[in-house]
């Protein structure tokens, strides 16, 4: 029966019913009933035309459902009968789709999903110029004075706020926001009120300094205090009153972070005091966003902003830019960009490329899974060729059979997709946890939502079609004549092995490439992690001491306070040594200088560059840098005269090659016109890494801490702990510092964490590639297992005959094994070639290895070979145990 399009079928039905009615009316008229009456009678007997049409339509629909259900049952029965195939296919799908879903959900949250605010399409971010998003406050105030630019404008900046009054710092994530922030983002407070322009005054508004906290902060840190409104909080030593709580779904303008406390922008003056940036024309720290008017487009806003730019810049000319640079300031073109997905986010820029690259890798893995399934499906279709050809001969339509095979594939996809969701949920959480570091935790909501479900469903459906359709079409192309040849279970030729073999070889090749990548990245990470630092990071605790902003002391007096803190903690049980320094390795601080040309006339300016740190006495011993010659940095230094400094071996090699450094007098290059400081080298120490974990240790000079020359608002106390410090050591230290110097704030950080934070990218890449390499191995193993199982299954008769004729089981294993070995071997060769070619691209990411490191390649090939061996061994050994007698009976 030809199926008609529904519209056509409906029209035909209508015609048919009308014709029936007409025939009935004719009958009545023939009997003498008047036409009108005849029509009425006929309609009554018809019993409702619309209802009749509905009933027929239902019948049409039911038909499809009946067939589908029958196909489904049939499919389930088949899948149950071949558990090996089913498990292999479902697992492959689950792993492949799951990995893609995991990466997608992270990419979606970080980059694609619009902000959870009302009408995110109306949100735009203003750029100061090009790709720079930061503004100065004077410029912002100019924007604020031009409300006609958009419906509302707001500025914000993120910062860590110390909520502790004194002593150990208690940092939370905070933001300074301007008065109309809540309007721009369309956020309604959960409790209380939002911040308003009237609060955004330098000394606080009518209610004094007020703050709004997030729901998470309220619940987690303040125990969902019912009396939260009106409660006072200490933010950076300033008392704020809580006036509102924002609802949980709103996490702020940046994807990947959440805020805890919002305070008005103008209160920055209260918090930073003399160091306030509110009037600094060269401090670029604010971001500006706008909500478009209903009739306004982003382009219009962009144009308006660009038009206002020259005026704004003129009004905010900074005083400390050189005359040459001023025109640049005036000309920087501002523009606006849609920000429905949040503005430029730190995480987005950090991880975008990495995540995209990972998506490509993971697609690779999915490809391998696809190859698996294609192979399995081909093998299965092959095995059913006889059954299918019989059905074709009996008159079943090819479309019908293809549909049935597709239903089976869909069942597999459904099962695989469901498992994939579970796997994705787990692995995306693990991945984000790995990417988060101590200082930059990534905070995104990874709960399942429709977008992720949709993605998974789409991938699963796509795979069903892609890898169910081709084998289905192929299988049903079987000529009906085949069925008449009474093949039964006789051994078949290997005609269809060609495609399957090719797919297997491709799979092994892809898998090898991934395993090689995993090997290279894992070894890179371990070499970096094991790299000698030049100091001993274990048991080294760094404590950052800070003066409160209101402090008025001069540098010398401050240093004295810091020394007092140091002296106080030396006697705490568990502390072996302590010393002060201006900075620590890998703290993102770089202090560089240049030696005066006259002191090293033969060297270029580049070679005269060196790095600087200022340390107190005993620092080298504390951090574990070896002293090679001369003296340590001394405690007391005369105010005048050259400073006594210590340099490292690299410094000597670079700047004083071949000379005895002790006693050498050097001068800093200084500013043009003014002579630089004089220095006398009194000691040499071993090389230590400064800020880069990959580069060699740079030439470094260590000044005595009194000569650091910078305002001493912060200093680092380096503490070497005993091997087994008492559990209370952290509290003891805190108590000691607070007792000796109660005005100081301090925060602890173990040095090992600081170092490992540097390795996040390498660690993540190593982790991911190892994970996906393992996944690829698993999939390849599964695929091999599945295909070999099937081929063995088809050859049961042949094997049974061989065994019956006296062949030894080991020869059966060899028979099967040789074929597999050839395929896997071919795949390895192809894979080695692929890896050789692809490795070039990874060069920059590696450390201590060439991209074509032979040991890694050989190792990867061996691992894959072993996996292949294991995967093929199981069905091969099972085959050799075939009960010959029962097989022959069946044939």
């Amino acid at each position: 029966m030809a199926t008609m399009r529904p519209g056509l079928a409906d029209r035909e039905l209508d015609q048919e019913l009308q014709s029936h009615l007409q025939l009935h009316i004719d009958e009545h008229v023939r009997r003498g009933t008047p036409p009108v009456e005849a029509r009425r009678l006929a309609l009554i007997e018809a019993g409702g035309l619309e209802w009749a049409k509905e009933a027929v339509r239902d019948r049409r629909g039911v038909r499809w459902i009946e067939q589908l259900m029958r196909d489904g049952q049939y499919g389930l029965r088949f899948l149950r009968r071949s558990p090996g195939f089913t498990v292999a296919a479902v697992l492959s799908l689950a792993l492949g789709i799951g990995a893609n879903t995991a990466i997608f959900s992270i990419i979606d949250r970080l980059m694609l999903k619009p902000l959870p605010i009302s009408d995110p399409q109306r949100l735009a971010q203003i750029f100061a110029t090009g790709d720079r998003v930061n503004f100065t406050n004077p410029i912002w105030e100019q924007y604020r004075a031009r409300p006609e630019l958009a419906e509302s404008l707001a500025a914000y900046a993120s910062a860590d706020f110390n909520m502790a009054d004194r002593g150990r710092t208690d940092l939370v994530k905070g933001m300074w926001v301007s008065g109309r922030f809540f309007d721009v983002f369309g956020v309604r407070p959960l409790l209380g009120r939002s911040l308003r322009p009237s609060d955004d005054q330098r000394g606080g508004g009518a209610d004094g300094p007020v703050a709004v906290i997030s729901e998470q902060f309220w619940r987690a840190r303040l125990n969902a205090d019912p009396a939260i409104l009106g409660r006072r909080l200490s933010v950076e030593h300033v008392t704020f009153t809580v006036v509102g709580v924002t609802p949980a779904p709103f996490f702020g303008p940046s994807v990947g972070t959440r805020f805890d406390v919002l305070v008005p922008l103008a209160t920055e003056a209260l918090i930073r005091g003399k160091q306030s940036a509110l009037d600094r024309r060269s401090s670029w720290w604010l971001r500006v966003v706008a909500r478009l008017r209903p009739d306004q487009s982003v382009e219009q806003l962009s144009a308006a902003v660009a038009a206002a730019q020259p005026e704004i810049r003129l009004a905010t000319l900074p005083g400390d830019w050189s005359v040459k640079e001023l025109p640049k300031y005036l000309e920087q073109p501002a523009h606006a960009v849609g920000a429905a997905r949040g503005g430029q986010s730190y995480f987005r820029s950090q991880y975008r490329d990495a995540l995209m690259a990972v998506m490509v890798v993971v697609a690779f893995v999915l490809l391998i899974a696809c190859v698996n399934i294609a192979n399995l499906l081909l093998a299965r279709a092959d095995a059913r060729a006889h059954e299918l050809s019989v059905r074709l001969a009996l008159g079943a339509s090819r479309a019908r059979l293809v549909r049935q095979l597709l239903v089976e594939s869909s069942l597999l996809s459904l099962a695989g997709g469901g498992l994939a969701l579970l796997f994705a949920g787990w692995s995306s959480r693990v991945l984000v946890a790995q990417l988060s570091t101590w200082g930059d935790p990534i905070d995104i909501d990874l709960t399942l939502d429709w977008r992720v479900l949709g993605f998974t469903a789409a991938v699963a459906a796509g795979m069903t079609l892609l890898f169910g359709l081709a084998p289905a079409l192929r299988a049903t192309r079987v000529e009906a004549a085949d069925a008449l040849r009474e093949r039964g279970r006789s051994a078949r030729g290997h005609a269809r092995w060609g495609v399957a073999s090719a797919l297997l070889v491709m799979q092994v090749a892809l898998c090898l490439a991934l395993v090689v990548a995993a090997g290279l990245f894992a070894r890179t990470f371990t070499s970096l992690a094991g790299r000698p630092l030049g100091f001993d990071a274990s048991h080294l605790l760094t404590v950052t001491l800070s003066m409160p902003p209101s402090d008025q002391r001069d540098n010398a007096a401050r240093l004295d306070r810091y020394q007092r803190a140091r002296d106080a903690i030396v006697s705490v049980p568990g502390v072996r040594q302590a010393a002060l320094s201006v900075l620590t390795p890998f703290s993102n601080f770089q202090w560089q200088s240049v030696i005066d040309k006259n002191d090293a006339p033969s060297l270029s300016e580049e070679r005269r560059e060196y790095w600087v740190n200022a340390v107190g006495p005993g620092w080298f011993e504390t951090v574990g840098t070896a002293r090679h010659a001369g003296q340590d940095v001394s405690a007391a230094t005369t105010a005048k005269g050259p400073a006594d400094v210590v340099v490292n071996d690299a410094f000597v090699r670079q700047l004083l090659p071949g000379r005895n450094p002790i006693g050498q007098l050097l001068h800093d290059a200084g500013d043009p016109g003014t002579p630089g400081d004089a220095r006398t080298i009194v000691g040499v120490v071993g090389d230590a890494l400064y800020d880069s974990i990959r580069d060699e240790a740079p030439a470094t000079m260590y000044l005595p801490i009194e000569k650091m020359g910078l305002p001493a608002t912060e200093i680092v106390l380096n503490i070497r702990m005993a091997d087994d410090p008492p559990a209370s050591v952290a509290t003891d230290l805190a108590t000691a510092i607070s007792a000796a110097t109660p005005e100081l704030s301090f925060s602890f950080r173990p040095m090992v964490e600081q170092v490992s934070a540097r390795l996040v990218r390498e660690r993540t890449v190593a982790l991911l590639s190892t994970f996906f390499g393992a996944l690829a191995l698993l999939l390849a193993g599964l695929g091999l297992f599945g295909v070999v199982s099937y081929s063995v299954g088809r050859r049961r008769t042949e094997i049974g005959i061989r065994l019956a004729l006296g062949a030894r089981p080991s020869s059966v294993v060899r028979l099967i094994g040789t074929r597999v070995a050839v395929l896997v071997g071919g795949g390895l060769v192809a894979g080695l070639a692929l890896s050789w070619w692809a490795a070039k691209f990874a060069g920059a990411l590696l450390f201590g290895l060439t991209p074509t490191d032979p040991a890694t390649f050989v190792g990867a090939a061996c691992v894959l070979g072993l996996v292949g061996l294991a995967a093929a061994a199981i069905p091969a050994i099972r085959a050799s145990r075939t009960d010959a007698a029962s097989v022959l009976r069946e044939g």
Binding site: Q15, E16, H20, L23, D26, E45, G48, A55, R59, R63
Partner: protein, 112 residues
């Protein structure tokens, strides 16, 4: 199987097929009339009962349908029995006879 509708639809299908067997190709009106007559006017068929049944028979391949012209020159869709349809009649008749015979033994007084 087992609802009242299923049984009813099954017997209606048989009636339609038997009608076509006796009358040759016929349109829906003709089939309905004939069934009513044969049942001694104890059955009346409305369109909502008849046409889904005809569609099901067509889907199963027991009948084919083609547009043609009726006796009084009206356009109508004619249904004709197929080979499968005849087989279905034969099978259904056998089953029906067997069922009737068994029930008969229960209904009539005890006989050996």
């Amino acid at each position: 199987m087992g609802g009242k509708t299923d049984v009813w639809q099954g017997t209606l299908a048989l009636m339609v097929l038997k009608t076509l067997e006796a009358m040759g190709p016929q349109h829906g009106y003709g089939i309905a009339r004939r069934i009513e007559q044969t049942s001694g006017h104890r059955i009346t068929l409305n369109y909502g009962t008849l046409y889904p049944a005809l569609l099901k028979l067509e889907q199963e391949g027991a009948v084919t349908a083609e547009w043609g012209t009726s006796e009084n020159n009206r356009k109508a869709k004619f249904y004709a029995l197929t080979k499968d349809g005849r087989k279905q009649i034969a099978r259904a008749s056998r089953e029906w006879a067997a069922t009737t015979a068994i029930i008969e033994r229960f209904m009539s007084p005890q006989q050996s």
